[in-house]
C-alpha cells in the first residue's frame, strides 16, 4: 500500500519528516519498505531569456550565451546544446541550484569562458527518461526569473511503500494509516469534508431512480447506491491525477478517478455504473453459478459456483467486490451514474477471486474486511467530489439497503491479563489514551478490568488478546525489558535423534564423505526409475520438481552429474533426508496412505584415493562402499547380526540388501548402465541407502565386558579350490561354525581364478586367528581345528585344500 505524505497530513497533524514517520509506522507494525521522494527533482531553477548567443572561441560545439534571469543583468552561461539560440525562453539552473538531489551548480570557467549556471534539458531536470535531444525551449509568455518548479506545480512530497499484514485491512487507506499515526502522536483523526454544496443536489431521492434487493444477506450486508446525473466524463483535476499516479493508478476520467481516490482515501471500494446502460432499474445482489461474464478489462471469465453478482434485474453487471462488467462500465458519453458502495463478505469475495485468479484493489480490500459503517460515508464523499469537481447533480439522498445489521462487539480487558501476557504493566491512562485514539470506546471500568466497544473499522479485533496486541503495538516493545534470569520448570529431555544423526554425520565426515542436501522435489522420470509408488505434487512449480523423492539416489545422482560436468569426478557424498512413497499402510508414517521415512544415503564414484607420490590411485569398487557400510553397521551396534542378500534390481546391476532378522535396513549397489546413461554419468557410480526408521526400531546391542585371554593367539592361513558358484560369505560362516569358541576371527586375504578352468574354479585364501581362552594351543589341537575346517568345507562346498 502506498501512502502519500501530504495526503496523510490531511487526516492527522504531526510534524515528523517522512523518514521519522516511516520509522514510527514500522515500529507500530506497518512496515515501511521504502520512501520515494516525488515532486521537483531540482531546486533553484528559474526561467531565463537567451539575450545573445555566440560561438565559444575555443570550442566548436559550445556556445557562449548571455541570459536574462529577470533582474535585468544578463549573466554569461556556456551551453553545449546544439539547439540553443538567441531569443529563446529556457529553464536555467542558477549558481547554487541543485539537480538530481545532489548535483550543485557552481560558477565555473569552461574552456576559458566564465559560466554562471546551466541551461537545462528535460532529462537534466529529471522529467524525461534517457537523454534529451537538447535544451528545453519554453513558451515565450513565461516571465524571466520565475521559479520553474512552481510553474510546473511540482511540490516536494514522499510516497511511502507500506507492507500491510493480512490482519490489517483497516490500514489499506490513508484514513486507516492516519489512525495509527494519531495514536502515536496522541492526536485524533479528521474525517474529510462530507457536506455537499446544495447547489449540486437535485430534489429527487436516489430511490426514485433505483431499487436495491439483496438476496444473499450473508454475502452482502449493506448496499448503498447514489444516483447522479448531468455528468461529463471529463478529466479530473491535476492534483487528483497527480495523487492517483503517485499511487500507481492510471487516471481515466473524473467518474472513475473519484471512485479510486476515495478508495485510497477511506478504504471503501466503490463502483460507478453507467445508469443508462443498466437494463432495469432494480439492482439485485445474488449468487450465480457457472456463468460466463465479460469484465470491464474486456476479458471473458468463467464464473465459479456461487459467485456473488450485482445484476440489473436478472443480467449480471458486476462481480461483487471484484470487478465491474464491460456491459455497464462508465464510457465517454456517460452522463448518469449509479454509484455503488457496499459491504461484501470477505470470505465470499476471496473464494470467487481465488477461483478466478483475479485480484483487484477492490477484492484485496474486501478480503481483508471493510468497515461496516463506511458505505454511506464513502458514497457521500465520492458524490461530493464528482459533482463539485466535475459538475452535474446528485440526488439529495442515497438508497441504503441494509440486509443484516452488524452487531457492535464489546470486549473486556483484564489488567492482570496485560501483565500476564506482556510481563509488564501499562499505566491505565496510557491504555485509555491508546485505545481511545484507535477508536475503541470505553463503556465501563473497575479496578481490575475495563470494557470497550470495538470500532467498526477493526473487524480483526475480536478477543482480549487482540486488545493486548493493540496496546503493545502502540506502546512499543522497547518497554518490555529482558529478565535477568532464564527461570524454567524442569522438563525431561524429549527423545530425539538429533545427537544420533549428528554423530553419524561426523563419523562419515571423518571417513571422507561430504554432506550434501538435495532438493526433495524431483522430475517424474527420475522418480519412476526407482518406483511406481510415487507421490506427485498437485501444483508443481515445474515438471522438474513434480514428484517427492522416493529415495535419496535420484537426487544424489543428479548432483554427481553436476559435479562431473564441472570436472569434479572423485565423489564421496552422503545425505540424510526424508523420502516419500505412496503406500496403503506403513509403520513409520504419520500420514495415512503415505510413507515418509528418513534415509541415510551414500554415493561413491571416481578414484578411491587422490593421486599421490607414494601410492597408486585406484578406481572405487562396490567393495569399497561395502567396507564403509560394514563400519557404519558396526557403529549402529545391533544386538543381532546383519546379513546380506544378493538381489535383482533394474536400477542397479550389482545389488545387495542389508538385513537384520529378515528386516531390510538398507541396500547397496552399482547403478546399471541404463541409469548411468539416463543421468549422463561418465563413470560407474555406487550408491547405498540405510533406512533409519527401520534401524531405530531394532534391538540395540548391550555392551558387556568379556575377559581378555591371557594366551597368545595363533594365525593360520589355508587356501581352497572351490567352485565359483560358492559364496565367500557362506564359507566364512562355515569356518566360524566349526569352532566358535576358538576361531576368534577369519578374514579372506586372497581370491583368484584357477588358471586351467577360470570360468569354474577359484581359489579363496583364509587367515584364521585361533585363541584358547584357557591355555596355550598344542600343535595337535591346532591341526585338529584345521582338519575340521577342511572337512567342513569339503562336505559343504566340495572345496579342496590347495597344496594338499
Amino acid at each position: 500500500m502506498k501512502i502519500i505524505y501530504s495526503w496523510l497530513k490531511e487526516f492527522v497533524d504531526f510534524d515528523w519528516t517522512a523518514e521519522e514517520l516511516a520509522n514510527k509506522l514500522t515500529m507500530t507494525g506497518l512496515e515501511v519498505e521504502g520512501i520515494e521522494r516525488t515532486g521537483a527533482g531540482f531546486k533553484g531553477v528559474v526561467v531565463g531569456k537567451v539575450v545573445s548567443r555566440e560561438k565559444h572561441p575555443n570550442a566548436d560545439k559550445l556556445s557562449v550565451c548571455m541570459v536574462d534571469l529577470g533582474d535585468g543583468h544578463p549573466v554569461q552561461i556556456v551551453c553545449g546544446a546544439p539547439n540553443v539560440a538567441a531569443g529563446q525562453t529556457v529553464p536555467v539552473a542558477t549558481v547554487g541550484a541543485v539537480l538530481g538531489g545532489d548535483f550543485v551548480i557552481k560558477k565555473a570557467a569552461i574552456r576559458g569562458q566564465e559560466s554562471n549556471g546551466m541551461i537545462c534539458s528535460k532529462s537534466e531536470l529529471g522529467l524525461e527518461e534517457g537523454k534529451s535531444d537538447g535544451i528545453w525551449i519554453l513558451e515565450d509568455s513565461l516571465i524571466a526569473g520565475l521559479d520553474f518548479a512552481t510553474i510546473l506545480n511540482l511540490k516536494e512530497d514522499y510516497v511511502l511503500e507500506v507492507a500491510i499484514t493480512a490482519n490489517r485491512g483497516d490500514a489499506l487507506s490513508h484514513l486507516g494509516v492516519a489512525r495509527d499515526v494519531a495514536a502515536l502522536a496522541g492526536k485524533m483523526v479528521r474525517i474529510p469534508d462530507l457536506s455537499i454544496d446544495p447547489k449540486y443536489l437535485s430534489q429527487s431521492e436516489s430511490s426514485e431512480k433505483i431499487k436495491i434487493e439483496i438476496e444473499s444477506p450473508e454475502a452482502c450486508s449493506t448496499y448503498v447506491g447514489w444516483y447522479l446525473e448531468g455528468l461529463e466524463a471529463r478529466q479530473s483535476p491535476e492534483w487528483m491525477q497527480t495523487r492517483l499516479k503517485q499511487m500507481g493508478l492510471r487516471p481515466r476520467n473524473i467518474l472513475v478517478d473519484v471512485t479510486n481516490y476515495v478508495m485510497m482515501e477511506l478504504g471503501q471500494p466503490l463502483h460507478a455504473f453507467d445508469y443508462d446502460r443498466l437494463k432495469t432499474k432494480t439492482i439485485k445482489v445474488k449468487t450465480f453459478s457457472g456463468l460466463s461474464f465479460t469484465t470491464l478489462d474486456s476479458k471473458s471469465r468463467q464464473l465459479p459456483e456461487n459467485a456473488l453478482m450485482i445484476c440489473d434485474g436478472e443480467e449480471p453487471v458486476a462481480i461483487a467486490g471484484i470487478m465491474g462488467g464491460e456491459n455497464s462500465e462508465v464510457v465517454d458519453s456517460t452522463s448518469k451514474v449509479l454509484l455503488e458502495s457496499a459491504w461484501f463478505n470477505p470470505s465470499s469475495v476471496r473464494k470467487t477471486a481465488k477461483k478466478l485468479s483475479l485480484s483487484t484493489d477492490s477484492s484485496y480490500r474486501f478480503e481483508r474486511g471493510i468497515d461496516h459503517n463506511l458505505q454511506t460515508i464513502a458514497a457521500r464523499r465520492a458524490t461530493k467530489l464528482i459533482v463539485e469537481l466535475g459538475g452535474g447533480k446528485a440526488s439529495f439522498k442515497p438508497v441504503e439497503a441494509v440486509a443484516k445489521p452488524t452487531p457492535v462487539l464489546e470486549l473486556t480487558l483484564r489488567f492482570a491479563q496485560v501483565k500476564r501476557i506482556l510481563g509488564i504493566e501499562i499505566p491505565k491512562d496510557t491504555i485509555h489514551q491508546i485505545l481511545d485514539s484507535l477508536g475503541f470506546k470505553m463503556v465501563g471500568e473497575n479496578s481490575t478490568e475495563m470494557m470497550v466497544k470495538v470500532p467498526s473499522h477493526r473487524p480483526d479485533v475480536t478477543r482480549e488478546i487482540d486488545l493486548i496486541e493493540e496496546l503493545i503495538r502502540i506502546y512499543g516493545f522497547h518497554h518490555v525489558p529482558e529478565a535477568e534470569t532464564v527461570a524454567v520448570s524442569y522438563t525431561p529431555e524429549q527423545k530425539s535423534y538429533y545427537s544420533e544423526e549428528n554423530n553419524l554425520r561426523y563419523l562419515l565426515n571423518g571417513a571422507g564423505f561430504q554432506e550434501i542436501l538435495c532438493n526433495s522435489m524431483i522430475p517424474k522420470a527420475d522418480a519412476e526409475l526407482v518406483t511406481s509408488e510415487i507421490v506427485p505434487i498437485l501444483n508443481p512449480q515445474s515438471e522438474d520438481m513434480g514428484i517427492m523423492r522416493p529415495a535419496l539416489a535420484p537426487g544424489m545422482l543428479a548432483i554427481a552429474v553436476k559435479n562431473q560436468n564441472h570436472g569434479l569426478a572423485d565423489l564421496k557424498f552422503f545425505e540424510l533426508g526424508h523420502c516419500f512413497l505412496k503406500k496403503a499402510s506403513k509403520r513409520y508414517s504419520k500420514i495415512t496412505g503415505y510413507d515418509e521415512t528418513i534415509r541415510l544415503g551414500f554415493l561413491l564414484s571416481g578414484n578411491f584415493m587422490p593421486v599421490s607420490w607414494n601410492h597408486e590411485s585406484k578406481a572405487v569398487s562396490l567393495f569399497d562402499l561395502k567396507g564403509y557400510l560394514n563400519a557404519v553397521v558396526g557403529a549402529f551396534q545391533f544386538a543381532d547380526p546383519v546379513t546380506l542378500a544378493v538381489k535383482e534390481s533394474s536400477y542397479y546391476e550389482d545389488y545387495l540388501t542389508l538385513n537384520v532378522k529378515n528386516q531390510e535396513i538398507g541396500y547397496l549397489g552399482k547403478i546399471s548402465k541404463s541409469v548411468q546413461n539416463f543421468y549422463g554419468l561418465k563413470q560407474p557410480v555406487f550408491i547405498a541407502e540405510f533406512y533409519l526408521d527401520e534401524i531405530r526400531s531394532l534391538k540395540p546391542k548391550v555392551a558387556r565386558y568379556q575377559e581378555l585371554s591371557k594366551f597368545l593367539p595363533v594365525e593360520k592361513d589355508m587356501a581352497f579350490w572351490v567352485s565359483k558358484t560358492v559364496a565367500a560369505d557362506e564359507m566364512l560362516l562355515a569356518i566360524k561354525s566349526v569352532n566358535a569358541e576358538f576361531i576368534r576371527n577369519v578374514i579372506i586375504f586372497d581370491v583368484f581364478e584357477a588358471k586351467q578352468n577360470p570360468d569354474q574354479e577359484k581359489s579363496v585364501a583364509f587367515r584364521m586367528t585361533l585363541q584358547n581362552p584357557e591355555k596355550t594351543f598344542t600343535d595337535d589341537e591346532i591341526e585338529g581345528i584345521m582338519n575340521a575346517i577342511t572337512q567342513t568345507l569339503d562336505s559343504k562346498f566340495k572345496a579342496r585344500l590347495r597344496g594338499a
Binding site: M27, T28, G29, E31, A166, N167, R168, P346, S347, E367, I421, L422, G423, I424, R463, I465, D466, I468, E469, I472, F477, V480, P481, E482, V486, V488, T491, E493, Q494, Y498, R505, L508, N509, G510, A511, G512, Q514, E515, I516, L517, C518, N519, S520, M521, P536, I537, Q541, K562, N563, L568, F573, F574, H578, F580, K590, I591, Y594, P610, W613, N614
Partner: protein, 334 residues
C-alpha cells in the same frame, strides 16, 4: 648435416658422466665453446637449403639443449657434493587423507540447536508431508483468509500439503506432551515461490516453543537476546517490531544489530545496521485450545527463523541456489 648432428650426439653420450669440475669445463669448451662442435654446426646452418632449414634448426636446438642440460645437472651435482644428503626427503607431502565436511546449512543449524539445547530446549521433529489441520487450521489460519496467501503452498491432495513452515510440529509436540514444554523444531519447509538468487522453493526453519505457567513476553525477549548474543556475538542488540502471524498474538519481527558493521550500516544489512532474522510472539490462545491446553492456565511463546538466509548472511553467499547445487568446490569452503 643430419648425419653430423647424430655424430655429435654420440660424442656427447660418450663423454658422460662428467664427474669433476674440470671435466665439466672441458666438455663445455668442446661442445658449446665459441669454437665448439655444436657452435660450428650452427654456423653451417646458413648454407642449408631453405626448405630443410626448419628441420635442421630444430635438431640443432635439441642438441644444444642436451649439451647444456648435461652441464647443468653435472654442475648441480658438483655443487651439492658438500651437502649432507638426507636418507628420506621429509618435505614430501603426507599421504592424502580427506575429511568430508558438513553442508553449510547443517553447520549453521547445529550451532543454533546447540545454543538452544544449552538453554534447556529439546529437539523435536515432524513430517514434511502434512495435513492442512496441522499446517494451517490448528495454527489459527482460517479458511478463506488472506493470511493463507502469506505462504504459497504445494499440495499433494485436497487435505495434504508440503508443510510451509515448521510450526505444525508445535501442534504435534503439544499433542504428545503436557506442559511444561520447551522444544525446538528444525526442519525442511516448502513454498511455491519462483526460484531465483534470493528465493528457493524449499528451505530450512528452526522453530521454538515454550509453554508453561506465567510465561510472558519478557521471557521471550530474554531468550531471544540470549540466543542472538550466543550466535552473533556478545555485543549484539535486538529490536522488536510488531508484526502479524496467525499463530502468535502479539507477534513481532526481530532484528539483530548487524554482526559485520555493528550497527553502522553496510552492504549486508542494506545500510540499516539491522538484520531481520526471526519472527516471534506469544502463542495465540486459539492455538493452545486447538492443542487442548487451557490458555487461562498456561501461556507460552514461539519463534521461528529461516536458516538458509542466516547462513547466507553469515558466509556472504549471494545466491541461494548455490546451497542446492552442491558443487564440491562450494561445499568444501565451509
Amino acid at each position: 648435416m643430419e648425419e653430423q648432428i647424430k655424430l655429435v650426439h654420440e660424442a656427447i653420450d660418450a663423454s658422460l658422466p662428467l664427474s669433476s669440475s674440470d671435466a665439466i669445463e672441458a666438455f663445455r669448451i668442446r661442445f658449446l665453446g665459441r669454437k665448439g662442435t655444436v657452435s660450428a654446426l650452427f654456423e653451417q646452418l646458413g648454407s642449408v637449403p631453405k626448405e630443410q632449414k626448419g628441420q635442421v634448426g630444430k635438431l640443432l636446438n635439441e642438441l644444444k639443449i642436451k649439451a647444456q642440460s648435461a652441464i647443468d645437472s653435472a654442475s648441480a651435482a658438483e655443487n651439492g657434493k658438500s651437502l649432507v644428503i638426507p636418507k628420506t626427503d621429509l618435505t614430501l607431502p603426507g599421504t592424502p587423507v580427506q575429511f568430508g565436511r558438513l553442508h553449510p546449512l547443517t553447520v549453521v543449524l547445529n550451532e543454533m540447536i546447540e545454543i538452544f539445547r544449552f538453554l534447556g530446549f529439546s529437539v523435536a521433529s515432524g513430517p514434511e508431508l502434512e495435513h492442512d489441520w496441522y499446517n494451517f487450521e490448528a495454527l489459527n489460519f482460517e479458511h478463506d483468509h488472506p493470511a493463507r496467501d502469506m505462504q504459497d503452498t504445494y499440495f499433494i491432495d485436497k487435505d495434504l500439503l508440503l508443510r510451509t513452515h515448521t510450526s505444525p510440529v508445535q501442534i504435534r509436540v503439544m499433542e504428545n506432551q503436557k506442559p511444561p514444554i520447551r522444544s525446538i523444531m528444525p526442519g525442511r519447509v516448502y513454498r511455491n515461490e519462483a526460484v531465483s538468487a534470493r528465493s528457493y522453493c524449499l528451505f530450512h526453519q528452526l522453530e521454538g516453543l515454550l509453554i508453561d505457567k506465567n510465561v510472558s513476553f519478557v521471557d521471550l525477549k530474554t531468550i531471544l537476546l540470549a540466543f542472538a548474543r550466543e550466535f552473533f556475538g556478545p555485543q549484539t542488540k535486538i529490536k522488536l517490531r510488531p508484526s502479524y502471524f496467525p499463530f502468535t498474538e502479539p507477534s513481532a519481527e526481530v532484528d539483530v544489530s548487524c554482526h559485520l558493521c555493528h550497527g553502522k550500516g553496510c552492504r549486508v544489512c542494506k545500510h540499516s545496521g539491522w538484520l531481520e532474522i526471526l519472527g516471534c510472539g506469544m502463542v495465540d490462545p486459539n492455538v493452545l485450545r486447538a492443542a487442548k491446553i487451557d490458555p487461562e492456565v498456561y501461556s507460552g511463546y514461539a519463534f521461528g527463523m529461516g536458516i538458509d538466509r542466516i547462513a547466507m548472511m553469515r558466509y556472504g553467499i549471494d545466491d541461494i541456489r548455490l546451497l542446492w547445487d552442491n558443487n564440491l568446490r562450494f561445499l568444501q569452503q565451509f
